[in-house]
Amino acid sequence: MRHLRALLARIAGLFAGRRADDDLRDELEAHLEMETAEYVRRGMTPADARRQALLSSGGLTQAAEAVRDQRGLPWLESVAADLRYALRSLRRSPGFAVVVVLTLGLGIGANTAIFSVVRGVLLKPLPHRDGDRLVYLRHSVDGPGRGNIEFSVPEVGDFRTGAPALADMAEYSPFFFTLQGDEGAIRIDVGLVTGNYFAIMGLAPVLGRVTQPGDDGTGVPAVMVLTHEFWLRRFGGDSAVVGRQLRMGSKSATVIGILQPAPSFPDKVDAFLNMVISDHHLGALMVTDRSHRMTEVVARLGPGATVAQARTEVAAVFARMQTQHPEAYPATDHHRVAVLPFKEVLGERARTTLWLLMAAAAFVLVISAANVANLTLMRGVRREHELVVRAALGAGVARLRRLLLTENLLLALMGAALGVLIALFGVGLLVAFAERYSPRANEIRLDAWVLGFALALSVMVALLLSFVAALPREGTFASWIAAGGQRVSGNFRGQLLQRGLVVAQVAVSVVLLAGAGLLTRTMMQLSEVETGLVTEDVLTVPVSLFDPTRLDFAADGANKQAYESLRREMLALPGVVEVGVGSTMPLRTSFLAFDVAVEGKAFAPGEAPPHADVRTASPEFLRAAGIPLVRGRDFSATDAPGGGRVAIINQTLADRLFKGEDPIGKQLAFRSEILRLTPISGDWRTIVGVAGNTQDGGLDAQPRAVVYLPFAQEFTIFGGLVVRAGSDAPDLAGTIARIVRRMAPQSPAEPVQTVAQIKDESVAPRRLNAALISSFGLLAVIIAAVGIAGVLAFSVSARTVEIGIRMSLGASGGQVLRMVLGEGGVLLAIGLALGVGGAYLGAGVMRGLLFGVAPHDPATFIAVAATMAGIGTLACWIPALRAARIDPAITMRAA
């Protein structure tokens, strides 16, 4: 209380001003007079008395100073004085100030924006209670697209009893439903979870309740917890939705609560339900079959348990499972289970990219700080005179350093303010970017941490800048003052430092450019990948008629009829050439994949049988999608339910199974443990054709093996139509979507896209990635170019007299031009060499992000070096031209 009051009084004292000073003078004067009067009374002469009084006062000026210090906050006042001084001196060189603030602003802005993403996506503690105790289990086998094959319920049971380091495990089965509503049907992605799911995840509802163990099993009502995001998107955050019944297919569930905002993993889901909603999930197959894997597992570490313990235990349990149930774990598949900290898994896909971006941003900051350091050095040389005068007036080294620091802090803080502003705009874009890599993108904020980061960066830069400027050692001021600031040449050390900074800028720019170049090449290569399809003229129309809540196999005939009606309706549209029906749209991965056996062909022991995607296709499908038939025949109307079982395989599978043989007429069959869990039979099928490869597993993946089966002969779980039209295909999308809505209102509305759009979407993250790194690279090059030009210009202006002498002695403008260019060229060349070397060494870390281009791609490196050399030479040219135009007569006279 007392200290607070005193502090307030002192703050008020800062503004006391002249009156307080007058009062103080009066008060001290009164004291002096009273004391003088006292001495007079004791018998001194008035003059002696006054002298004696003054003597005993201990100095009026010192007293006044002491009182003033007590009145205000002296340190604050001296800081304020420094600030005033700094502002004044910056106002005198506005060009310098603007360039520095802009440069630092860009550097700090880039870093702040990227750091906000790194923090939101990778570093921030999870919103889950004790989120660092959560682990995720991943079951993988060999083969493309089989990195996560999930678990079966019996497997989860084994882990639950055999791994005490895991306190408890929650089951989560990704599924999807068609949500019926007033505005039509939509597809919602859901997680079917065990009742302990939310307790284990450490997530709480913001409204209502979450599922509990009491919601497990049969005979309970179906309940539903909406994710925060879906609640806002679909129901506008209306709290009245809690308690409502939502209809999904033939069933409905009661909304019991809204979940707190949390990253959605492993899949982006809209809602969580208990298992009772799905007949399948409570069926014997799901519950008892070891090979029926459609459950994800999240577990919480027990008290005191470590991830390492959990790994050991899980590995032991898994090894036991494999020996006890060899049929469920074919050795050739190499089954393995990983125990991963949940937070790590969430950041898995974003990590490399983000750290790469962070490094790129850091490089930009290094370059901009180097530029500012150079500007400061040059300005320091010009200010030598001023500093000498200040030193002569009694400012010590420490004081001068403080002045510089204040000035640089001011600049850096203004830069940081600009940077935060830039970051504010950038974060919006970056969230959209990060969404493609991380379920935590919505946690990206410019929070206190991020602002603190920006502040720390700017303080660091200010400190660095304050110590690059040369100040004499204490005690050598005299020589400085004697020199009188005449040496405006800049000393050798300063020049060397400036040049070193330019070399560093060029080198770092080259590294950034190389990264940008490689990513851009990657993106171009990806866009040029042949999909094996007609992309522009083909529309894909996903239509789901199967009700996943009910396993109604009898409805299949009616569904097939409905697809046929849709097909005819679309075929009748003007401009439409062909319409096919199939299970899976082109460029989308199939949900079914089995091992394939060939009649009369044995695989070598230990050789894994080929694993092929299964897709169904109507006789028109391949033609409509533009997939070429390499051999044999297409499906025909006779490949009907009653007819012989036939199949078309793709080129990849043909190469794999029938090297040098004609596959037509051969017999193949599916042979997977999970086959009996699906409506697909293991019967022998005659191969009637070979189709071209398509890039369904991703543009950057090896083409996958595919078996096409006649649409009419197989049960339809998923379905859709491909519509081949002319170049006006995109214009038909609206019409076709309306047809689906009219004829199949129970099917959730899904976008009607051309194959080209799907392809484009899959390249988009890479494109953004390349664009971000490229813009950093561009920024770096521009800043570096300004840096070279600045240093050369400074060198030219410092050597005006020398150049004048040279020219008066007969050097031509051209010779001077070459001299300056040469000076810059040396810096450029060293920087280029270092940069290319650095990029060559560093490119390896990007390997995982590249496609179709080697990390040490010579073409990219040459192009990058040429770009940098070109821009650098251009930057040298400007000061060189100025040097060549120096008029010796004028400069010599001025000297």
């Binding site: 007392r2 200290h3 009051r5 005193a6 009084a9 002192r10 004292g13 009062d23 103080l24 009066d26 008060e27 001290l28 009164a30 004291h31 007079e33 009273m34 004391e35 009067a37 006292e38 005993s56 006062s57 201990g58 100095g59 009026l60 010192q62 007293a63 100073e65 002491a66 009182v67 210090d69 007590q70 009145r71």
Partner: protein, 114 residues
Amino acid sequence: MADKLDVKQGTLALMILRTLEVLGPLHGYGVARRIEETSSNRLKLNYGTLYPALLKLEQEGFVTGEWRQSENNRRAKYYALTAAGRRQLAREAREWHQTADLIAAFLAPRREAT
């Protein structure tokens, strides 16, 4: 002035407060004289010591200053003890007594061990 003691900031505040309590509102000169006299001139107060201390007490709310005519018709700033100042004085005096007793006990001539 080698024989004169310097005053420490903390003790000076106590002396000022006590002086104002005994003598009532008083100007800086009066306070200085009184302290010097009470110390039998062993203490010597600079302006540079006294006035910052008075200002500090004022800022802390223990004294208030007011401009008045002095006894010989000079304008002078008179300091008076506030209620908070009185409480502070009582508190500090008590603490001093305790400290003094304690130190005295420590410094007392050692008794013969029996």
